[in-house]
Amino acid sequence: MQFLSPEEWTAVALSLRVAFWATLLALPLAIAVAWWLARREFWGKQLLNGLVHLPLILPPVVTGYLLLLTFGRRAPAGAWLEETFGLIFAFRWTGAALAAGIMGFPLMVRAIRLAIEAVDPKLEEAASTLGASRAWVFVTVTLPLILPGVIAGTLLGFAKAMGEFGATITFVSNIPGETQTLPSAIYAFLQVPGGEASALRLVVISVVIAMTALLLSETLARRAAKRVSGR
């Protein structure tokens, strides 16, 4: 292909991979946290809520730095994860996914929480009288009903993950093929003389991907909403 250099292709592919896994793995947690925030009253609820929003508020560089302090190979959490699970975030694409996931997390939680708050608990009661335990009620009733919100949140998170840069480059650096995502590549191009044209090309690509994801999400969410409306 003429349009993109192999290296750029790698960045695109990596970005997609990172965003995909970031969203996929953040999703269950986002659903759990959203449920917790929507349906439960507990001590420290506002604290959790604030914590979830933190990545939205902090400058990404700070987030990245905090990640580095927490999950770096020399850091306690990072070392523990590496020893126990052999899971290494530092300077791996997994770390990029972690950063992207964390940055998209607040967006996902917000969208899903609103969806959960809109589900009528009476339907869940009905399911429980029909023999479904709490977990089954969630899987068979709540989850299908919040699907539009989940889709919207997921794709928003995905789009954000595709665009995340500050935290990623600070946390896992910018290694082509390993941690160089599209935005990092854009950054790298912008740092050298004459790189603007290449950067622009990559911007266009990332916008196209993100927009596609976003439009897709709206369409999917609308379709799911229609389904859920019972018609």
Partner: protein
């Protein structure tokens, strides 16, 4: 005893205190809005945890606070039909129906399902979505869904309240078949007397969180002392009659109340047992047998009790054959006719004053004691 309910619960504004046993069949909970009917039903379903109480169905305890037993809702095997249906909007009718079966460990299609689908007339709806259904269809699906989980007990909280007249009329026969064809005991909440009169074996009347009285439907509905709780215009006796003839002029003849009862044609076969509610307000009394009058039904009775109300009216309880009839007349008429217990008189009832909704299939007393 099929259901035994003993509950105590303290709300900020209401103290619930209920204790009654109900035999098999349909037990109706009746009472004004806010009297705590839904609370009782929710406690039975496990959706509300009462302060104290014991609930058992067919001998199995679902709740026994003194023994520390509080089964969670999904382990109670109870079918609950809610006023608003509460169908799962994301599932088709068929999937809704099978939802409970799946958790009861009953997979795949089954005879029970086919039978119920046929009985509730759901055949044509199976692939539709709940949003498409009319209110009446929704309730039928909700009933089917609750029943297909093979519950020990069926709870119905005003299942018809959200429906308009024609839709109500459409469902009532299904409920009668339910009562007669399945063995599941039913706890039925309603404040429509006509529904209760048609369906219930037993009625429990609630007032401000307390049980006022419980007993067989006929006794309760015709109990003048409950007339205020039930409503003056709704009080009336239940007559049981057998269809003896369908006449050419569109009338059906029943043997009831020790005489003949002519009603607009009923769909039931000859020999079938029906229960007919005769509102007390529709019964006219006469000392002599009236002649040249348009009313077709004139039953020979004996006054057994006269209970004057606070207003201008009085209830007159009459023995008609083996049955009882209740009449509501003015005190002025009681005096004018010189009515007194023991006196014989005639009850005059217009055929057309008996509403279609007040005639229903009867579950014979013998049959219902079989269930118990």
């Amino acid at each position: 005893m099929s259901i035994s309910i003993n509950l105590h619960h303290q709300f900020p504004e209401l103290t619930l205190d209920v204790d009654f046993d109900a035999p098999a069949g349909v037990t109706a909970l009746f009472g004004a809005s806010g009297s705590g009917k839904t609370t009782v039903v929710n406690a039975v379903a496990g959706l509300l945890q009462p302060d104290r109480g014991r609930i058992s169905v067919a001998g199995t305890a679902l709740l026994d606070t003194s023994a520390g037993l509080r089964l969670p809702p999904h382990k109670r095997r109870i079918g609950y039909v809610f006023q608003e249906g509460r169908l799962f909007p994301h599932l088709s009718v068929q999937q809704n129906l099978r939802y409970g079966r799946w958790f009861a460990g009953l997979r795949g299609p089954s005879q029970a399902e086919d039978h119920l689908v046929e009985m509730l007339g759901l055949g044509a709806l199976l692939n539709r979505r709940p949003g498409d259904l009319s209110g009446g269809e929704k309730q039928r699906v909700a009933i089917g869904r609750a029943l297909l989980s093979e519950p020990r007990l069926l709870l119905m909280d005003e299942p018809l309240a959200a429906l308009d007249g024609p839709r109500k009329a459409e469902i009532l026969p299904y409920l009668e078949r339910l009562r007669d064809e399945t063995q599941v005991p039913i706890l039925y909440v309603s404040h429509a007397i006509s529904e209760i009169a048609r369906l219930a074996t037993t009625v429990a009347v609630m007032e401000r969180g307390q049980l006022r009285k419980a007993g067989p439907t006929g006794d309760i509905l015709a109990d003048p002392s409950l007339a205020h709780a039930i409503g003056l215009r709704d009080t009336g006796a239940l007559l049981t009659g057998r269809v003896v003839a369908h006449h050419m002029d569109g009338l059906s003849e029943l043997a009831a109340g020790g005489g003949k009862l002519f009603l607009p044609k009923v769909p039931n076969a000859l020999g079938e047992q029906l229960r007919v509610r005769i509102s007390a307000k529709d019964v006219m009394l006469s000392r002599d047998r009236p002649v040249g009058i348009s009313a077709l039904n004139i039953l020979d009775c004996e006054v057994s009790e006269i209970r004057p109300g606070r207003g201008p009216g009085a209830f007159v309880r009459l023995k008609a054959g083996a049955d009882h009839i209740l009449a509501r007349v003015t005190k002025r008429s009681v005096n004018a006719l010189g009515l007194a217990p023991g006196l014989s008189c005639y009850a005059v009832i217009k055929s057309v004053s008996v509403a279609r909704a007040d005639v229903g299939a009867d579950v014979g007393t013998e049959a219902s004691s079989d269930h118990a």
